[in-house]
Subunit: 137 residues, 2 copies
DNA sequence: ATTATATTGAGAAAGATTCGCATTTGTATC
DNA sequence: GATACAAATGCGAATCTTTCTCAATATAAT
Protein backbone atom coordinates (compact mmCIF):
# COMPACT_ATOMS: atom_id res chain seq x y z
CA UNK A 1 0.00 0.00 0.00
CA UNK A 2 1.25 3.45 -0.94
CA UNK A 3 -0.34 5.35 1.90
CA UNK A 4 2.79 4.56 3.87
CA UNK A 5 4.84 6.46 1.29
CA UNK A 6 2.56 9.46 1.62
CA UNK A 7 2.49 9.39 5.39
CA UNK A 8 6.24 9.18 5.63
CA UNK A 9 6.46 12.09 3.23
CA UNK A 10 4.33 14.06 5.63
CA UNK A 11 1.25 14.06 3.45
CA UNK A 12 -2.25 13.02 4.33
CA UNK A 13 -3.23 9.83 2.49
CA UNK A 14 -6.04 11.16 0.32
CA UNK A 15 -7.54 9.37 -2.63
CA UNK A 16 -6.24 11.73 -5.34
CA UNK A 17 -2.73 11.61 -3.94
CA UNK A 18 -2.81 7.83 -3.76
CA UNK A 19 -4.09 7.51 -7.30
CA UNK A 20 -1.47 9.85 -8.69
CA UNK A 21 1.39 8.31 -6.78
CA UNK A 22 0.35 4.81 -7.79
CA UNK A 23 0.16 5.91 -11.38
CA UNK A 24 3.61 7.49 -11.30
CA UNK A 25 5.04 4.36 -9.72
CA UNK A 26 3.47 2.00 -12.21
CA UNK A 27 3.97 3.95 -15.44
CA UNK A 28 6.80 2.85 -17.71
CA UNK A 29 7.07 6.45 -18.96
CA UNK A 30 9.07 8.34 -16.42
CA UNK A 31 8.68 11.94 -17.57
CA UNK A 32 5.19 13.35 -17.63
CA UNK A 33 3.46 16.71 -17.73
CA UNK A 34 0.61 17.57 -15.40
CA UNK A 35 -1.69 17.24 -18.39
CA UNK A 36 -0.36 13.73 -19.02
CA UNK A 37 -1.15 12.73 -15.46
CA UNK A 38 -4.56 14.34 -15.66
CA UNK A 39 -5.40 12.46 -18.86
CA UNK A 40 -4.25 9.21 -17.33
CA UNK A 41 -6.57 9.82 -14.39
CA UNK A 42 -9.48 10.43 -16.72
CA UNK A 43 -8.74 7.31 -18.72
CA UNK A 44 -8.63 5.10 -15.65
CA UNK A 45 -12.00 6.51 -14.71
CA UNK A 46 -10.50 8.16 -11.67
CA UNK A 47 -12.16 11.45 -10.91
CA UNK A 48 -9.35 13.88 -10.19
CA UNK A 49 -9.49 17.53 -11.18
CA UNK A 50 -6.69 19.20 -13.13
CA UNK A 51 -6.11 21.74 -10.38
CA UNK A 52 -5.65 18.90 -7.94
CA UNK A 53 -3.13 17.24 -10.22
CA UNK A 54 -1.10 20.43 -10.23
CA UNK A 55 -1.43 20.83 -6.48
CA UNK A 56 -0.49 17.25 -5.75
CA UNK A 57 2.50 17.26 -8.08
CA UNK A 58 3.74 20.45 -6.47
CA UNK A 59 3.31 18.91 -3.03
CA UNK A 60 5.11 15.79 -4.16
CA UNK A 61 7.92 17.98 -5.36
CA UNK A 62 8.16 19.76 -2.02
CA UNK A 63 8.08 16.42 -0.26
CA UNK A 64 10.91 15.16 -2.46
CA UNK A 65 8.83 12.45 -4.09
CA UNK A 66 9.15 13.87 -7.58
CA UNK A 67 11.41 16.25 -9.45
CA UNK A 68 10.13 18.98 -11.73
CA UNK A 69 12.08 19.59 -14.92
CA UNK A 70 12.00 22.55 -17.27
CA UNK A 71 13.09 21.21 -20.59
CA UNK A 72 12.84 23.42 -23.67
CA UNK A 73 9.12 22.99 -23.84
CA UNK A 74 6.39 25.27 -22.67
CA UNK A 75 5.47 23.25 -19.61
CA UNK A 76 6.87 21.45 -16.60
CA UNK A 77 7.74 17.77 -16.69
CA UNK A 78 7.60 15.62 -13.57
CA UNK A 79 9.58 12.54 -12.75
CA UNK A 80 9.25 10.14 -9.82
CA UNK A 81 12.34 10.15 -7.68
CA UNK A 82 14.00 6.77 -7.50
CA UNK A 83 16.95 7.79 -5.41
CA UNK A 84 19.85 8.23 -7.76
CA UNK A 85 20.47 11.60 -9.34
CA UNK A 86 20.83 11.72 -13.09
CA UNK A 87 20.90 14.15 -15.98
CA UNK A 88 19.00 13.98 -19.25
CA UNK A 89 19.63 13.62 -22.95
CA UNK A 90 16.64 14.52 -25.06
CA UNK A 91 15.81 13.87 -28.70
CA UNK A 92 14.74 17.08 -30.43
CA UNK A 93 12.84 15.11 -33.07
CA UNK A 94 10.77 12.54 -31.21
CA UNK A 95 10.97 13.99 -27.72
CA UNK A 96 12.38 10.84 -26.16
CA UNK A 97 14.16 11.37 -22.87
CA UNK A 98 17.15 9.26 -21.89
CA UNK A 99 19.15 9.49 -18.71
CA UNK A 100 22.78 9.42 -17.79
CA UNK A 101 25.14 10.23 -14.98
CA UNK A 102 28.74 11.26 -15.24
CA UNK A 103 30.86 11.47 -12.16
CA UNK A 104 33.41 13.73 -13.81
CA UNK A 105 30.77 16.30 -14.69
CA UNK A 106 29.28 16.09 -11.22
CA UNK A 107 32.62 16.83 -9.63
CA UNK A 108 33.49 19.64 -12.00
CA UNK A 109 30.23 21.34 -11.18
CA UNK A 110 31.00 21.37 -7.52
CA UNK A 111 34.44 22.76 -8.21
CA UNK A 112 32.99 25.48 -10.41
CA UNK A 113 30.44 26.45 -7.79
CA UNK A 114 33.10 26.55 -5.14
CA UNK A 115 35.42 28.60 -7.33
CA UNK A 116 32.69 31.18 -7.85
CA UNK A 117 31.82 31.20 -4.16
CA UNK A 118 28.40 29.64 -4.57
CA UNK A 119 26.80 27.12 -2.22
CA UNK A 120 25.40 24.68 -4.73
CA UNK A 121 21.82 23.57 -4.18
CA UNK A 122 20.98 21.88 -7.43
CA UNK A 123 21.84 21.67 -11.07
CA UNK A 124 20.23 20.78 -14.35
CA UNK A 125 22.06 19.43 -17.37
CA UNK A 126 20.21 18.61 -20.53
CA UNK A 127 21.84 17.52 -23.74
CA UNK A 128 19.72 18.04 -26.84
CA UNK A 129 20.32 15.95 -29.92
CA UNK A 130 18.93 13.50 -32.41
CA UNK A 131 18.51 9.97 -31.12
CA UNK A 132 19.71 6.91 -33.03
CA UNK A 133 16.20 6.02 -34.19
CA UNK A 134 15.52 9.48 -35.59
CA UNK A 135 18.81 9.63 -37.44
CA UNK A 136 17.54 6.91 -39.77
CA UNK A 137 14.39 8.71 -40.87
CA UNK B 1 24.89 51.63 -36.99
CA UNK B 2 23.19 48.36 -36.15
CA UNK B 3 21.28 47.94 -39.39
CA UNK B 4 24.39 46.20 -40.72
CA UNK B 5 24.04 43.58 -37.99
CA UNK B 6 20.43 42.97 -38.94
CA UNK B 7 21.12 42.84 -42.65
CA UNK B 8 23.93 40.39 -42.26
CA UNK B 9 21.65 38.29 -40.07
CA UNK B 10 19.23 38.19 -42.96
CA UNK B 11 16.66 40.46 -41.33
CA UNK B 12 15.10 43.59 -42.72
CA UNK B 13 16.26 46.63 -40.79
CA UNK B 14 13.01 47.76 -39.26
CA UNK B 15 12.67 50.27 -36.46
CA UNK B 16 11.47 47.83 -33.77
CA UNK B 17 14.27 45.41 -34.54
CA UNK B 18 16.84 48.17 -34.44
CA UNK B 19 15.55 49.50 -31.16
CA UNK B 20 15.51 46.08 -29.55
CA UNK B 21 18.92 45.08 -30.81
CA UNK B 22 20.43 48.38 -29.71
CA UNK B 23 18.89 47.93 -26.31
CA UNK B 24 20.25 44.41 -25.96
CA UNK B 25 23.69 45.58 -27.00
CA UNK B 26 23.78 48.51 -24.62
CA UNK B 27 22.23 46.93 -21.55
CA UNK B 28 24.58 45.91 -18.74
CA UNK B 29 22.08 43.20 -17.78
CA UNK B 30 22.60 40.31 -20.11
CA UNK B 31 19.65 38.06 -19.33
CA UNK B 32 16.21 39.46 -19.94
CA UNK B 33 12.65 38.24 -20.38
CA UNK B 34 10.44 39.46 -23.21
CA UNK B 35 8.56 41.46 -20.63
CA UNK B 36 11.80 43.12 -19.51
CA UNK B 37 12.57 44.16 -23.06
CA UNK B 38 9.03 45.41 -23.55
CA UNK B 39 9.16 47.51 -20.39
CA UNK B 40 12.50 48.96 -21.44
CA UNK B 41 10.96 49.96 -24.76
CA UNK B 42 8.10 51.68 -22.99
CA UNK B 43 10.43 53.52 -20.65
CA UNK B 44 12.56 54.86 -23.46
CA UNK B 45 9.38 56.14 -25.06
CA UNK B 46 9.83 53.74 -27.95
CA UNK B 47 6.54 52.50 -29.24
CA UNK B 48 6.94 48.75 -29.69
CA UNK B 49 4.16 46.27 -29.01
CA UNK B 50 4.60 43.26 -26.82
CA UNK B 51 3.73 40.88 -29.62
CA UNK B 52 6.46 42.45 -31.70
CA UNK B 53 8.97 42.02 -28.91
CA UNK B 54 8.17 38.32 -28.82
CA UNK B 55 8.35 38.04 -32.59
CA UNK B 56 11.60 39.93 -32.86
CA UNK B 57 13.27 37.98 -30.08
CA UNK B 58 12.23 34.73 -31.71
CA UNK B 59 13.59 35.94 -35.04
CA UNK B 60 16.82 36.99 -33.37
CA UNK B 61 17.05 33.53 -31.91
CA UNK B 62 16.59 31.87 -35.30
CA UNK B 63 19.16 34.24 -36.78
CA UNK B 64 21.62 33.32 -34.05
CA UNK B 65 21.74 36.80 -32.57
CA UNK B 66 20.37 35.75 -29.21
CA UNK B 67 19.96 32.58 -27.20
CA UNK B 68 16.79 31.65 -25.38
CA UNK B 69 17.18 30.04 -21.97
CA UNK B 70 14.66 28.13 -19.89
CA UNK B 71 15.78 28.54 -16.35
CA UNK B 72 13.54 27.32 -13.53
CA UNK B 73 11.21 30.24 -13.93
CA UNK B 74 7.93 30.42 -15.72
CA UNK B 75 9.22 32.32 -18.73
CA UNK B 76 11.97 32.43 -21.32
CA UNK B 77 15.09 34.47 -20.80
CA UNK B 78 17.03 35.93 -23.71
CA UNK B 79 20.71 36.71 -23.96
CA UNK B 80 22.63 38.50 -26.70
CA UNK B 81 25.15 36.19 -28.31
CA UNK B 82 28.69 37.46 -27.96
CA UNK B 83 30.41 34.56 -29.64
CA UNK B 84 31.66 32.27 -26.94
CA UNK B 85 29.45 29.54 -25.58
CA UNK B 86 29.01 29.41 -21.84
CA UNK B 87 26.90 27.82 -19.16
CA UNK B 88 25.17 29.46 -16.23
CA UNK B 89 25.26 29.51 -12.47
CA UNK B 90 22.22 31.10 -10.91
CA UNK B 91 21.51 32.39 -7.42
CA UNK B 92 18.25 30.98 -6.09
CA UNK B 93 17.92 33.88 -3.65
CA UNK B 94 18.57 37.04 -5.64
CA UNK B 95 18.25 35.64 -9.13
CA UNK B 96 21.68 36.79 -10.24
CA UNK B 97 23.07 34.94 -13.24
CA UNK B 98 26.79 34.28 -13.59
CA UNK B 99 28.52 32.51 -16.42
CA UNK B 100 31.24 29.94 -16.78
CA UNK B 101 32.74 27.53 -19.21
CA UNK B 102 34.46 24.28 -18.50
CA UNK B 103 36.26 22.44 -21.23
CA UNK B 104 36.19 19.16 -19.35
CA UNK B 105 32.41 19.26 -19.06
CA UNK B 106 32.05 20.22 -22.70
CA UNK B 107 34.09 17.25 -23.79
CA UNK B 108 32.34 14.80 -21.50
CA UNK B 109 29.01 15.84 -22.91
CA UNK B 110 30.10 15.03 -26.42
CA UNK B 111 31.40 11.69 -25.27
CA UNK B 112 28.15 10.92 -23.51
CA UNK B 113 26.10 11.85 -26.57
CA UNK B 114 28.29 9.72 -28.77
CA UNK B 115 28.12 6.80 -26.38
CA UNK B 116 24.33 6.92 -26.45
CA UNK B 117 24.30 7.26 -30.22
CA UNK B 118 22.95 10.80 -30.25
CA UNK B 119 23.96 13.55 -32.65
CA UNK B 120 24.33 16.43 -30.24
CA UNK B 121 22.72 19.71 -31.27
CA UNK B 122 22.83 21.71 -28.10
CA UNK B 123 23.01 21.50 -24.36
CA UNK B 124 22.01 23.47 -21.31
CA UNK B 125 23.74 23.34 -17.97
CA UNK B 126 22.54 25.42 -15.09
CA UNK B 127 23.92 25.24 -11.59
CA UNK B 128 21.61 26.57 -8.89
CA UNK B 129 23.01 27.82 -5.65
CA UNK B 130 23.37 30.70 -3.26
CA UNK B 131 25.76 33.42 -4.35
CA UNK B 132 28.44 34.86 -2.06
CA UNK B 133 26.44 38.04 -1.41
CA UNK B 134 23.32 36.14 -0.38
CA UNK B 135 25.22 33.83 1.96
CA UNK B 136 25.83 36.79 4.26
CA UNK B 137 22.24 37.82 4.68
C1' DA C 1 7.63 58.32 -56.16
C1' DT C 2 5.21 53.64 -56.68
C1' DT C 3 4.51 49.03 -55.78
C1' DA C 4 4.76 44.52 -53.81
C1' DT C 5 5.88 42.40 -49.63
C1' DA C 6 7.17 41.94 -45.02
C1' DT C 7 6.31 43.84 -40.54
C1' DT C 8 3.78 45.97 -36.94
C1' DG C 9 0.26 46.96 -33.24
C1' DA C 10 -3.66 45.87 -30.73
C1' DG C 11 -6.50 42.87 -29.03
C1' DA C 12 -8.25 38.26 -29.16
C1' DA C 13 -6.92 33.60 -28.33
C1' DA C 14 -4.42 29.72 -26.64
C1' DG C 15 -1.84 27.00 -23.35
C1' DA C 16 -0.15 26.33 -18.71
C1' DT C 17 -0.80 27.11 -14.09
C1' DT C 18 -2.87 29.10 -9.94
C1' DC C 19 -6.66 30.92 -7.12
C1' DG C 20 -11.16 31.27 -4.55
C1' DC C 21 -14.56 29.16 -2.37
C1' DA C 22 -18.28 26.02 -1.39
C1' DT C 23 -18.26 21.06 -0.62
C1' DT C 24 -16.18 16.78 0.67
C1' DT C 25 -12.80 13.81 2.90
C1' DG C 26 -9.34 12.16 6.29
C1' DT C 27 -8.21 11.79 10.91
C1' DA C 28 -8.17 12.43 15.65
C1' DT C 29 -11.56 12.32 19.45
C1' DC C 30 -15.21 10.50 22.18
C1' DG D 1 -18.26 3.55 15.13
C1' DA D 2 -20.26 8.44 15.30
C1' DT D 3 -18.58 13.44 15.54
C1' DA D 4 -15.99 17.50 14.64
C1' DC D 5 -12.45 20.16 12.61
C1' DA D 6 -8.89 21.02 9.66
C1' DA D 7 -7.14 19.88 5.38
C1' DA D 8 -7.99 18.69 0.63
C1' DT D 9 -10.82 18.64 -3.51
C1' DG D 10 -13.40 20.16 -7.70
C1' DC D 11 -14.92 23.51 -10.46
C1' DG D 12 -14.72 27.61 -12.79
C1' DA D 13 -12.66 32.00 -12.82
C1' DA D 14 -8.43 34.36 -12.99
C1' DT D 15 -3.57 34.98 -14.18
C1' DC D 16 0.54 34.69 -16.81
C1' DT D 17 3.18 33.90 -20.83
C1' DT D 18 3.15 33.47 -25.49
C1' DT D 19 1.05 33.17 -30.09
C1' DC D 20 -2.26 34.42 -33.60
C1' DT D 21 -5.30 37.37 -36.62
C1' DC D 22 -5.72 40.99 -39.49
C1' DA D 23 -6.06 45.65 -40.85
C1' DA D 24 -2.77 49.37 -41.14
C1' DT D 25 2.06 50.66 -42.03
C1' DA D 26 6.80 50.63 -43.12
C1' DT D 27 10.64 48.73 -46.00
C1' DA D 28 13.23 47.58 -50.16
C1' DA D 29 13.25 47.26 -54.91
C1' DT D 30 11.80 49.48 -59.20
Amino acid sequence: MDSKDLKSAGLKATLPRLKILTFLQSSPVRHMSAEDVYKAMLESGEDVGLATVYRVLTQFESAGLVTRHHFDEGHSVFELNLGEHHDHILCVKCGKVDEFTDQVIEERQHEIAKKQGYTITDHALVIYGVCPDCQNA
